[in-house]
């Protein structure tokens, strides 16, 4: 359990590299996945989730004012669920539910980017220096990430009664389809443009 909290904390900090601090690629799913996977004792699962979510995230570009799905939070939340260890009956379900759960959290974090940007605007218009405003903005972003990923740890599926068998079948089919959607997104991202 402590490994899950450590993974949530680490992912919350790595997410800052995505747009706000450095932008060295440390927040990309292909990096976050294996890192958290190693921390949680399943590097292969981490790598596979990282690659699939990296490919899916290629379809979400931060151009203009568009706020894409937050791929770092999506990856972290997916791995928290997949490797969260809720017991033998729950763990198979957790693996199936991981990516949809992660994407939902990634989308939620993307939606919360708007109020975060509004807060940054208020911070930078205050007296007290831009340095303090930027530091405050980073702290607010980190706090938001920690709150979201803590919620992911606490709310992760796989505990209690399993859902209807038909939901499990649907999740199995979706899990099979997801890497191929990633493959299509990769090919589409690299298409030649006139």
């Amino acid at each position: 359990m402590s490994a899950l909290w450590a993974a949530a904390g680490l992912a919350a900090l790595l997410e800052l590299d995505g747009d706000s601090l450095g932008q060295f690629g440390l927040a990309r799913p292909i990096v976050v996945g294996p890192t958290l996977g190693c921390l949680l004792g399943a590097p292969a699962t981490g790598l596979m989730f990282g690659i699939v979510l990296e490919l899916l995230a290629l379809g979400e570009l931060p151009v203009g004012g568009h706020v894409p799905l937050n791929a770092t939070i999506a990856t972290a939340a997916s791995l928290i669920v997949a490797l969260g260890g809720r017991g033998p009956d729950g763990s198979a379900y957790a693996l199936l539910a991981a990516v949809p759960f992660g994407i939902a959290f990634g989308a939620l974090r993307g939606a919360l980017e708007r109020p975060l940007r509004a807060l940054r605007g208020r911070l930078s218009s205050r007296e007290g220096g831009l340095g303090a405003a930027l530091a405050g903005a980073l702290c607010a972003q980190a706090a938001l990430n920690v709150a979201l990923l803590s919620a992911a740890v606490l709310l992760r599926p796989g505990q209690g009664a399993l859902p209807d068998e038909r939901v499990l079948v649907a999740l199995q089919r979706l899990l099979w389809l997801t890497p191929w959607l990633g493959a299509a997104t990769l090919l589409h991202a690299l298409r030649a443009r006139s």
Binding site: F24, C38, P43, L55, I103, R117, A170
Partner: protein
């Protein structure tokens, strides 16, 4: 300039809808220009984050020219500086997006995919331990940052050296040709990666896998307003509907 270079790492820390990167850009310029002149740059500014160092270098060079000019000419030079800054920001935003988000990032993702799928094909999925997993992550980071870090470092130097001639210098570099080459290389890697995925998925599933990929690609290419997230949501709903109806 080292302080400027490091401060540009926080270019987007204060991104908001009014100034966009303006707060981060102004803060980054402070060690080079001083508080008063840096405050003049607390205005709307938005460009590709890896192109910002080149513009910062240009601004520093032009600010030196303002200081060296007679008092009567300064206002006109300052107006020219801000105009050039805005023009470069727009031009480099489009170029940076095409190079880094449109070519380099997917190309590096394709490289990581090929590395992972090759490892799986040759040694089996069980061979993917922590060293292999972190090794592939490092491969991605090395490939991406080789170009990204060089662009930031050399961009700052180029801006400082070129000043107002920055745009002409960048045009000479024929970046569009580089983008086309990167995209071509990336597409080759992507095709290899997808072929390996199909190979690794086993004989009974290859056709279905390739059909699914083609269908998704066609949807992304031709359906208006199609996006990866929307296709994922649609797939989830279709899977649920199919399972509920007993078709799956």
């Amino acid at each position: 300039m080292k302080a400027l270079s490091r401060r540009l790492w926080l270019l987007q820390a204060g991104w908001d809808y009014r100034l966009m990167q303006g707060a981060g850009f102004s803060w980054a310029l402070k060690p080079a220009l001083g508080a008063e002149r840096a405050k003049r740059h607390l205005e709307y500014f938005n460009t590709h984050p890896y192109a910002a160092p080149a513009i910062a270098g240009m601004v520093c060079k032009l600010e030196e020219e303002v200081v060296a000019a007679p008092e009567a000419e300064r206002a006109a030079l300052i107006e020219r500086l801000h105009g050039l800054k805005r023009a470069c920001a727009s031009a480099f935003a489009a170029l940076g997006d095409a190079l880094f988000w449109g070519a380099l990032r997917p190309g590096c993702a394709a490289l990581a995919l090929v590395a992972e799928q090759l490892t799986e094909a040759v040694a089996g999925a069980a061979a993917l331990g922590p060293i292999e997993a972190l090794g592939i992550a490092l491969l991605y980071l090395a490939a991406f940052n080789r170009i990204a870090l060089a662009t930031r470092r050399k961009g700052l130097a180029l801006g400082l050296e070129s000043g107002a001639a920055l745009v002409a210098k960048v045009q000479e570099m024929r970046v569009q040709d580089e983008i086309r080459q990167l995209r071509g290389l990336g597409m080759g890697l992507a095709a290899a990666g997808v072929a390996l995925m199909a190979w690794n998925s086993g004989p009974g599933q290859r056709l279905a896998a390739l059909a699914a990929t083609a269908a998704f690609w066609a949807a992304l290419r031709w359906l208006p307003r199609a996006s990866t997230t929307r296709l994922y949501a649609a797939s989830a709903l279709a899977a649920l509907a199919g399972a509920w109806a007993g078709w799956l």
